[in-house]
Amino acid sequence: MVKERSMDIYLPIANMSVNVFLLMGLGGLVGFLSGLFGVGGGFLLTPLLIFIGIPPTVAAASDSNQIVAAASSGAYAHSRMGNVDFRMGIILLLGGITGGSIGVQIIKVLAARGNVDFVIKLVYVFVLGTIGAFMFIESLGALRRSKAITEEAFSLEPKESMIRKMTARLPLQVNFAKSRMTTSAVFPFILGASVGILAAIMGVGGGFIMVPAMIYILGMPTIVAIGTDLFQIVLTCINVTIQQAIRNHTVDLVLVILLFFGSTVGAQIGVRVGRRLRGEQLRILLGIIVLLVMGKMLIDLLVTPENLIGLARGGGGH
């Protein structure tokens, strides 16, 4: 038998060998989309890793670690430009840490019960379905109007939302000078905690939920929302990474480094390509991609499995 030569690398935590170029290619693809659309790729990368056979808990934990690297570079640049509301970021972070810790415990309990794969898929289907459908419908409407609405979603000025009016009555009112607003600290804390739980379960930074929430619900200026979001994502995902490493032993450092090599290059290409496309074209493309990922996960839940017995993969490949 002739042994084929290939560029495989052994992932010690996932306990499997995978082609280096496949991993870097996945990182590159997600980085490209990240650079193209200005959102993180965590919500796409985790399912892609699961598709190629990485155990779901290893995929989610390693992706959180990869997000630390990706978000650090962005947060650094934004902080230099004065786009980070540190006070808001710290409160969101406290919520994120609380939520992240709860999320990791949820994963641990679900892994012990054997439900972790199902819950991760269900959360993905719900979140991706909602966001994908919203983006698709919104951008389709924009295309029909045939107007070049560049960065519509992120260019709205702060509005007085119903929730914001309600939070004005809550205790612990804090002035957030950079965000040009005064609101109860309880509200961003709850928002951070909710995203933290999702981040831990889905292995994502949560930017694609947090940024619209900060703009539309909290009423923060777009650029400050993005900078502050990146700042809190770095710290939230550091917490998730360490928690996953301690409790579940599922962070595969080799996998993380390879993904980051790919995503760094991909992001640079994505940014350049993105400059040539209109805002609604980008959003409709992203909406389609998000819906495709959601569709694949939905099919897995609806179609009769070939084998009714499955491995309950809680805790990596060991």
Binding site: V39, V251, L311
Partner: protein, 264 residues
């Protein structure tokens, strides 16, 4: 005097055991596994090849059974829930089952061994012996009447998964015999568990299978892979902090190089 007699008896017994062992298993060097130790390092590919060679008894066909250390599997059973989605409706833990089990033979097994003899020797293509040795613990105890059927359902599902992963295989014609020597190449997938693998060598003659040798080889992680795995499991706090620091360091380094923001 009585002590002397007891000692002599023990000594004779040990010699007799040694003679018996060599007559059953043959000399130690009849069968060889190369490499004797498979090391999984960072550059390991999707599979390793272990070559098993040895002296074949005259006019006999050869069957090799390669068994990995036992391991535990946590399994889910899917069923319809909420009326339309497939979700886990049962959970079980299976113990005492090899993480890998491969049967390699020099001829079609059904031609050289009857079904009954295959079962007796534990050389069936559907790994029947696994069903007997495996222990299963259900999360919620099933009715006494359905226990056996449920065990069979879980185990057949698990064996199917392991077959698809290339961890359970039955390959006829994979052992080549030439001039009294046999040779087989075992494809060892990267997903296979670490530990000591036992190689049982059977000679089949006149419809009877006889175990004539038993060898072993070792599979272990090595180098950086071993270090990382050890740190992740044995030194998890440091490993987690290290993973986070490396990510921050790389991110800041790249950010400084490109000097640009990046949405997330």
């Amino acid at each position: 005097m009585r002590r002397g007699l007891l000692g002599l008896g023990l000594f004779t017994g040990l010699i007799a055991l040694g003679i018996l062992r060599s007559s059953v298993f043959g000399a130690e060097d009849i069968v060889k596994c190369l490499p004797p130790c498979v090391e999984k390092n960072l550059l390991s590919e999707k599979f390793h090849v272990v070559t098993i060679t040895g002296q074949a008894p005259p006019s006999a066909e050869i069957i090799l059974k390669i068994v990995a250390p036992n391991r535990e599997f946590k399994l889910n059973k899917s069923g319809k829930g909420l009326g339309f989605v497939w979700l886990p409706i049962g959970h079980a833990e299976v113990k005492n089952i090899p993480g890998m089990c491969i049967l390699l033979s020099s001829a079609k097994v059904s031609d050289i061994l009857s079904e009954k003899d295959q079962k007796v020797a534990g050389l069936t293509s559907d790994f029947q012996e696994i069903y007997q040795q495996a222990q299963i613990h259900h999360k919620e105890d099933p009715n006494q009447g359905e226990k056996a059927a449920l065990k069979r359902e879980y185990l057949s599902g698990l064996i199917r998964i392991l077959k698809e992963a290339g961890l359970y295989r039955f390959q006829e014609g994979a052992v080549k015999i030439s001039q009294g020597q046999f040779e087989a190449q075992l494809i060892h997938p990267s997903e296979a568990p670490l530990g000591k693998y036992r190689v049982f060598c059977y000679a089949v003659k006149d419809g009877k299978a006889q175990l004539f040798n038993e060898q072993s080889f070792l599979v272990r992680s090595a180098g950086v892979a071993e270090w990382l795995s050890h740190q992740a499991h044995g030194n998890a706090v440091v490993y987690g902090i290290l993973a986070a620091l490396i990510a921050v360091g790389v991110g800041l380094f790249v950010g400084a190089i490109f000097k640009r923001g990046g949405g997330h």
